[in-house]
């Protein structure tokens, strides 16, 4: 094989990659924030004891978790306009990513709430804590510490999922690669570079994850379960 690698196409167009990476970052951040809100609401519904809310939420979770994101994206991007809901590519991308992340985080947050022993809440009530303060001061941190590994993992998967939105012409990191690929023959160099960008994002998230663990969840080392 006489192929010589030439990454000059990457350097010449580095601005394109960075712009794409920024959009990937922005879409991820917004979708994860919305998804987390959905997840908290979903977890509340799942643990509410109300059968109907629980059933609806469970159906949502199982449907999303057992169908490909690509189909969800196409359903929203091509389907919703048929119902008169106009969405541009970026809005459709954010909407479908949020719905997707919401389903996964519903189950994660629910597991976190259920991981708190009943005695913790009882002790707080006996001390006179009201529900909101019980959540804020007694449940929140231990629950987060129990689920944060799963949550970080899901955040990483969500960021990787965002690459799929390039398929509806959202100009994210992957789209930048596609664009250049259609103009040059340096496919390997281009897509490899895109991969490195994703890897970098993943490592940054992992790094933040470790930092949060050491900063806020040190106690978890000692609490035997």
């Amino acid at each position: 094989m006489g192929y010589t690698f030439d990454f000059s196409v990457v350097w010449d167009n580095i601005g394109l990659f960075i712009a794409g990476a920024l959009l990937t970052f922005r879409i991820s951040l917004i979708a994860i924030a919305f998804g987390l809100i959905l997840g908290i609401i979903g977890a509340l519904f799942r643990t509410s004891g109300n059968r109907i809310l629980n059933a609806i939420t469970l159906a949502y979770v199982e449907i999303i978790r057992n169908t490909p994101f690509l189909i969800q994206l196409f359903f929203i991007f091509f389907g919703l306009p048929k119902l008169g809901i106009r969405l541009n590519a970026e809005q459709a991308a954010i909407l479908s990513l949020s719905i997707n992340f919401g389903a996964y985080s519903t189950e994660i947050v629910r597991a976190g709430v259920e991981s708190i022993p009943k005695g913790q809440v009882e002790a707080a009530m006996a001390l006179g804590f009201k529900p909101l303060k019980i959540f804020r001061y007694i449940i929140l941190i231990p629950a987060l510490s129990n689920i944060y590994t799963a949550l970080i993992g899901q955040v990483i998967l969500a960021v990787l999922f965002t690459s799929v939105v390039s398929q509806i012409a959202t100009e994210d990191l992957t789209f930048a690669g596609d664009f250049l690929n259609s103009r040059t023959f340096r496919s390997f160099e281009i897509y490899f570079t895109v991969c490195l960008f994703y890897l970098a994002i993943v490592w940054i998230i992992k790094g933040i994850g470790y930092w949060v663990e050491r900063r806020f969840f040190e106690f978890a080392k000692y609490s035997r379960r």
Binding site: A123, F217, A220
Partner: protein
């Protein structure tokens, strides 16, 4: 009859009685009739030990006193405040009543010191400096001050339970409830917890303790209540209870725990 009831709930006892429970009945949501009409009056400064076989309803009964368990029939008054589902009363009553649990239930994410000071700060809105002062005093009193910066998970069971007592005391309750505070402890740690409870009793605290520690009951309790199958079987002095039990049920129980 009416006269009798009036005098019981009237002015004469209102100042004396810390807890007045009358004909308390409770069913769990699965229909299980756990309390079948239990009446008990605990006077201020009294130490009452609650005994009974497993499943007799001891925990359920004392947990009604601070509204951790709702009940369906009868009435409970804590320090003159009727225990109704009204939130205002529940708040007032939980302010008066501290509780210590079998499993300690310390907050794992807070240091020992924060475990003791958080409720005064967050529930009582006490200035932090004041709450810290109280926490320091109480931890000193239960002998854990040198471990104040550690997390509960780093302490032994006995130490954790002493912190739990300090945490409850930090709210300056008038009544303390103990639900088998030493049952989850290794034998060598039981003493240190009982010592703290004993000194608390000597200081005049009103206490209701579910415990099977016979030595503690004989020495510290003013009265022993024996509960079986959701009914109050005996309400008597420790000497009477251990030396001269009235019912067969009590004798059977004593023969089981006395060795």
């Amino acid at each position: 009859m009416t006269q009798f009831e009036v005098s019981k709930g009237g002015t004469a006892t209102a100042t004396e009685a810390a807890i007045v429970a009358q004909d308390v009945e409770k069913w769990y949501s699965n229909g299980f009739h756990v309390l079948k009409g239990v009446s008990l009056t605990v006077n201020k400064g009294e130490v009452v030990v609650l005994m009974g076989p497993s499943g007799s309803g001891k925990s359920t009964f004392i947990r009604t006193f601070n509204a951790l368990e709702p009940f369906q029939k009868g009435s409970i008054e804590i320090d003159g405040i009727p225990l109704t589902p009204k939130l205002k009363n529940v708040d007032a009553i939980r302010r008066e009543v501290g509780m210590v649990f079998q499993q300690f239930n310390l907050f794992p994410h807070l240091t020992v010191f924060e475990n003791v000071s958080i409720a005064p700060i967050q529930v009582r809105n006490m200035p932090k400096a004041k709450a810290d002062e109280i926490a320091t005093q109480l931890l000193e009193r239960v002998g854990i001050l040198h471990q104040a910066k550690k997390y509960p998970g780093q302490l032994s069971g006995g130490q954790q339970q002493r912190v739990a007592i300090a945490r409850a005391l930090a709210m300056q309750p008038k009544i303390m409830l103990f639900d088998e505070p030493t049952s989850a402890l290794d034998p060598e740690m039981v003493r240190e917890v009982l010592d703290v409870m004993r000194s608390l009793a000597n200081s005049g605290m009103t206490m209701v303790c579910v415990t099977h520690e016979v030595g503690f009951a004989r020495e510290v309790a003013d009265r022993i209540i024996f509960l079986a199958d959701g009914l109050l079987v005996e309400d008597t002095t420790p000497a009477e209870f251990f030396n001269n039990p009235k019912s067969d049920r009590t004798r059977k129980f004593l023969s089981q725990i006395l060795h």
